[in-house]
Amino acid sequence: MNFVSAAGDVFSSESTYINCMLFAGLLGFAATGEWVAERSGTLNISVEAMLLNGAFAGAVGYHLFDWVGVAMCFGALGGWFIAFLQAQMSHRLTADQFVVGLTLNILVLGLTGFLDREIQPKAAFAARLEIPLLAELPWVGQALFGAPWPFYLLYGLVPLAWWLVFRTRWGLELRAAGENPQSADVSGVEVNLRRRQGIYFAGIASGLGGAYFLVTRLADFDSSAIGGRGFIAIAAVVFGGWTLWGTMAGCVLFAGALSFQLSLQGLGYEFNTELLQALPFLVTIGAMAVFARRVRAPVALAQPFIRGLK
């Protein structure tokens, strides 16, 4: 039970990095989407529901068409559907965003659990795709460039999110909606429309994340599969100080904590399982406790915008 030597073994093993990137993929999809939504001023806690629904829709897609590509598309649609409900209820009607998000989380948990028992969709693992040369890098090569192919969507999605938010007019308006909705409104920006679109982006990204997790880790859908990891993705955005690169760093850190148990088991070590299960959540809380004050949140984060009020 020598923790130090175990940790040493873990960090020098290639499978550790592969496990880590597996979870980092899940967190990465969700956190990228969540980051866009939060820059527009929504603290979107239904990301958990989006992930779960994405995974379930992906399973249904694979069940019907027997192809991972379709599963990913279904996943994106499934995530978007939750985003649609969230956006319409909290940013067209004026229901509280936390209330809506929480209810959606519970709804999707029940609904996918129910439908899973009734129709039992079967999926399978996606094929690995090795990128020549890069995949032979020591330690991280296989993890970053020998992954199942849906992982590579992340390499497109993250720069896309950055470009949309920082290099387009749409992104400027989106950020304005998150920083100062009143001023944005009088300059002719449709604040709630931009916020809804931010949530749609979060839904599609998280839905892809859910489907990605399905075809890389689960294969057989289970409604407890996401189990609070969506909230870790939200915490990654807070940890990253609402910058995209910080968010990604948070994803890798938290994914490391999430995969630690898996990696230890793979190497034959046995530790206190409760501590290992709680570890990612403790790391997340600890990291937020250290960093939450040092960063600047979008000013209007989690504040509803209603024209003429406030």
Partner: protein, 363 residues
């Protein structure tokens, strides 16, 4: 009453949204090859009509009411505490630990159990509170993340005899459960026409009245509400966001912890056998939170909503016999919550439209 909404319009909208929620649920059931009508019958049968069932439902409603009361208190102060599930579990764990540690005869032990439960919930919520006001961590996230930590911590405690696990030499691979509460130390149960329910039902009602009074008629309650409505104004009149916020979270957590203790000491068909074991919290915390959301911070509505949601839970046991997966009740529950969010939002939009048209007419 040109701008106001008449009471029967409100009623119509609420009835309509309940119908919509049930309609969507029925579509879900029918689409997967089940029959909706028997499910509905089973729900009513299992929660009210079958012998002994409404007492059972009352018993389940108790922790829901307690959790929801705590939620209302923290949300009145403008804080979003959504970790009741963890606070409840921690409360139950504290109740078990201190209940057996301190012992004491009958009623005294029961009081100890309840107080320890409240303490446990308060401690767990205060962790989130401290992180919020000392380190600026959003309480929405920390309370949520602490749910997982709580369940793992209690799981660990249930493996250690010096913490929660039932003492006994050579237990082998038996189930990890705590010691059972002695029969003299349990919450007394009343019997009405074959329906048994714990006396905590009355405690819950009294607490609901008390909370309603505290929030509406005391200085503390007013400051709390002020903090929730406009924290800048509260700051100007000298209401400390930190101390009142911490207090609101702590009291909210205490109610959730009390609910856990009440489940442990109240027993009954739904909540284990006066023991703490794996899966003890069983989503009561989440459901209690939903109750508070549906009641929309109106304390006196809480017991009624709690009874309906408790009915969905006790009715779920009967749904399985219809051949439909009983998790459908979770779907019905969440859909009801979503649907009941609609009327106030629709009315809000409508009043604004009317106000605008009146303003345009004058111009």
């Amino acid at each position: 009453m040109s701008r106001g909404i008449r009471i029967n319009e409100w009623l119509l909208m609420y009835v309509l949204s309940v119908v919509v929620a049930l309609g969507v649920s029925s579509v879900v059931v029918e689409a997967t090859g089940g029959d909706w009508w028997p499910v509905l019958e089973a729900l009513v049968e299992g929660s009210l009509l079958a012998p002994g069932r409404w007492g059972e439902t009352l018993g389940v409603a108790v922790p829901l009411v307690l959790v929801a009361l705590g939620t209302v208190i923290s949300s009145k102060a403008g804080l979003v505490n959504i970790g009741q599930e963890g606070q409840l579990l921690m409360g139950a764990a504290f109740a078990v630990y201190f209940g057996f540690l301190l012992g004491g005869p009958g009623v005294i032990n029961l009081v100890v159990v309840m107080m320890a439960g409240a303490l446990g919930g308060a401690v767990w919520a205060s962790v989130a509170g401290l992180l919020r006001f000392w380190r600026g961590v959003p309480e929405v996230l920390s309370t949520l993340l602490l749910v997982v930590v709580a369940s793992q911590a209690v799981g660990y405690g249930l493996k250690q005899q010096w913490l929660l696990l039932e003492p006994g030499a050579d237990r082998g691979n038996r189930n990890q459960v705590s010691q059972q509460l002695a029969s003299g130390n349990r919450v007394p149960r009343l019997d009405f026409f074959g329906n048994q329910f714990p006396v905590t039902v009355f405690v819950a009602v009294v607490l609901a009245l008390l909370v309603a009074f505290m929030l509406a008629r005391t200085v503390w309650g007013m400051r709390l509400r002020m903090l929730g409505h406009n924290h800048m104004a509260a700051h100007r009149v000298g209401v400390s966001a930190t101390s009142y916020g911490l207090a609101a979270l702590g009291v909210g957590g205490a109610f959730a912890g009390l609910a856990g203790a009440a489940m442990f000491a109240g027993g009954g068909f739904s909540f284990g056998n006066y023991q703490l074991g794996p899966g003890f919290a069983d989503n009561i915390g989440w459901t209690g939170l939903l109750v508070a959301l549906v009641a929309r911070e109106r304390v006196l509505v809480v017991p009624a909503v709690a009874f309906v949601f408790a009915g969905l839970r006790t009715g779920a046991g009967f749904v399985n016999s219809t051949g439909v997966e009983s998790r459908i009740t979770e779907v019905v529950q969440a859909l009801l919550v979503l649907a009941l969010l609609l009327p106030p939002a629709v009315v809000f939009l409508r009043t604004r439209r009317q106000a605008r048209s009146v303003a345009l007419l004058k111009a």
